[in-house]
Symmetry: C2
Subunit: 142 residues, 2 copies
Amino acid sequence: MQVKPTSKSANPGSSEDASGLRMTRQRQEVYRVLLAQRDHPTANDVFMRVKDGLPHISLATVYNCLEVLVEHRLVRQVNFEREPSRYCPNLEEHCHFHDQHTGVIHDVKFKPGVRLGDVLDLPNGAVIEDVEINLRGQLSLA
Amino acid sequence: MQVKPTSKSANPGSSEDASGLRMTRQRQEVYRVLLAQRDHPTANDVFMRVKDGLPHISLATVYNCLEVLVEHRLVRQVNFEREPSRYCPNLEEHCHFHDQHTGVIHDVKFKPGVRLGDVLDLPNGAVIEDVEINLRGQLSLA
DNA sequence: GAATCAATTTAGAATAATTCTTGCTATTGG
DNA sequence: CCAATAGCAAGAATTATTCTAAATTGATTC
């Protein structure tokens, strides 16, 4: 029934940011919350924080927003074992160290110049799309 | 009702193996299945395979056995994203490459002499208890 | 401004891997 | 043999996440 040309109805120009993502109020808030407190919160943590600014937001929406932000590579999803996913706005190549004493997750950078292929005996022709390195241990004071 | 046919029922004489684990028939079967087909099966995969030899085993028991084997470090638990856990009897230090084209998970060894501390900018005083490295990508034929 | 129309949000239901509970059986040490 | 402990089975419970369906939004075109 639509006689519409619909040429660009789906995704109007000025509503998207550089990564092609429509920045709705909810997505903004979710993203803002992640940037504001970089402690690798879970979806539920984010939910609780976002409610300050958007009291009517639903948990499903938080999940949707996080999913979209991850897809658009503005945010990384961090999984430790089978614990609830955590979210990290640090886009630098880095990995995660879970201090099991404090529960804190630290970002850990690679030393400069390190390349995976130098370190791992990768199968021939392997094209790596994604790397996830998770460490568990503790920070001894000694 | 039965007056105790102890001698050969389920668990012959020496009950524990080197790792202090009581090797029941169920744990044996679970472990055997993991060793027999090293394709990183899920708990449910293991369940189905074990049923050949032990038709009455329950899924809960498979989970229990896997948990115990992991605790005793005879088996490693492998988690990719939030997918069901997989189990790996390869005890060598290694990591995992998930070929998203075939779904196969390959074991990947470190190149000889590589140490984490050489590669990562670890926090001062970090004692690493466990390392998990997961790669995703594909094996290009070219 | 009104109509349009896909994208988005929402609330709640559904899903599914895993864990827990309970009762029972087997095994071990005394 | 007996008591104590460990392990097993079946099914219920848990829980992070996803799905569904209906309502809303908002950019664009008329």
